[in-house]
Amino acid sequence: MKTLMASTAAFAMMAGLAMAQDVVRLGTEGAYPPWNFINDAGEIDGFERDLGDELCERAELNCTWVTTDWDSIIPNLVSGNYDAIIAGMSITEERDEVIDFTQNYTPPDPSSYLALSDDVDVESGVIAAQSGTIQAGYVAETGATLVEFATPEETIAAVRNGEADAVLADKSFLVPYAEDDADLQFVAEDVALGGGVAMGIRESDDELRQTFDEAIQSMKDDGSLNELIEKWDVASTF
């Protein structure tokens, strides 16, 4: 009788755990096209929306989306306000100390400088970058003067109005701006930063990390991940 009760209790607890995994909350920024942005219908859209929905379907998870400020995206994850970050976040050692990453879903990709004129010296000029990004960290290490902005959009505006000589960001983010505006052009050499983009998961949440790892692997294996990358033109393919 005692064992029966114990096993019932254990079963109930497992059911409780399974229930907890029922809804997985995905946190993103919603301001970084083509990775993630808010479309005209007010919904989160972009490469990571498609990717996240597909991963959740493969892993048979019930996922919901939330947007949050980039600056508080990691603190909100570790305090449990959502379960995973899927926001164009590159794998870096600093972040890896605080959270865990799945395997990358885009390969390490070039970051580029975008400027109004081609005679900008990116080693000594004023360079704009979004705060808390690998690009901001990189600019700080070069001889250039770093000006940081809270949103990606503001970094472009800073170049347009002359506040900064150039902006350093993921190339895929800058390409639409360069195509759209004849005044903006790529300057200097591209730089390779970070270890590719991956999902951020709490360190204590190993099960969820493995689940997403497997789902990403299955998308890599059947080529559907490459298709998505090409559809949104966010990065090079695997």
Binding site: M13, G16, L17, M19, A20, D22, V23, R25, G30, A31, P33, P34, F37, I38, N39, D40, A41, G42, E43, D45, G46, T64, V66, T67, T68, D69, D71, S72, P75, N76, V78, S79, G80, N81, D83, V98, I99, T151, E153, E154, I156, A157, R160, P176, Y177, D180, R202, E203, S204, D205, K231, W232, D233
Partner: protein, 304 residues
Amino acid sequence: MRGPPHPPEAAIFSFCADPASLEGLKWLSCYLTTVKHANLYIATGTVLLLLAITAPTALAFGFGGAIAARSRIWPLSWFGKGYIAIVRGVPDIAFFLFFVIALDQLFEAIRHKIKCPTWNQPIWQGNDFVVCSAAKLPLGNDPQWVHDTYGFMLAVLTFAIVFGAFAANVLYGAMRAVPRAQIETAEAYGMTERQTFRRILVPQMWVYALPGLSNLWMVLTKATPLLFLLGVEDIVYWARELGGSANARFTDYPHGDWRMWYFLALLVFYLGLTKISEVFLERLMQRLTHGQATTGGDAQRQAA
């Protein structure tokens, strides 16, 4: 690279089916009625609602803080003065980034202790804060509006604590500004300490408190961008998001950097809010001054 334009049912006007073919006012009326823009209008309501709830709550916190600070029971006085000093000293942004998360964790930790007594793992695992799923606030399975409401309530509470501390300091000063003669007269009439407080001190202090409180109100109306740190999207967030240049790849309504126009609209909104507040506060001041032993009160008496 996007799919076909959004189906017409996403728009209010029937002619919005193919935005690329529109021009001028028609284009603008379609552009301003996308669901994305509706978020801006909803955010305006959210901000006004937040102000309407926060202002009285903060005033209540301030009143409590001021009474505590001038209490003769030293732990209470110590608590009131500590509250005023600490909250006024901590930068707002730090308060919103760390205090709110800590507050949320405190609630969850308490629920965790009650709901999951058999849980054997620590709540803190390295950087991670882990409680059992039944203790989550709100529950992970709750619909999005519950999460939004919870975030909103946390925002109200945090704003109330922060602005309550400033209000407490204003009220503390206002209570001391009431002329000593008024209190002495009340005592001479044989009123108890309680009666003096209720009938003399509190009714008379408002006139001294109002200039300080109206300052606080004005600051509060403009502090709402801090909300996004809590995931609550306010009007400044949406103005920035909607005004930023929109590429044809990602929207049916491409445009350049229009943030100036959006912020201009915000300027008008805030100026309007300020004007309404000023008119209201001026009337309130007139009423509070009535019959008071201040120069304003004297002027009213002589004019009558």
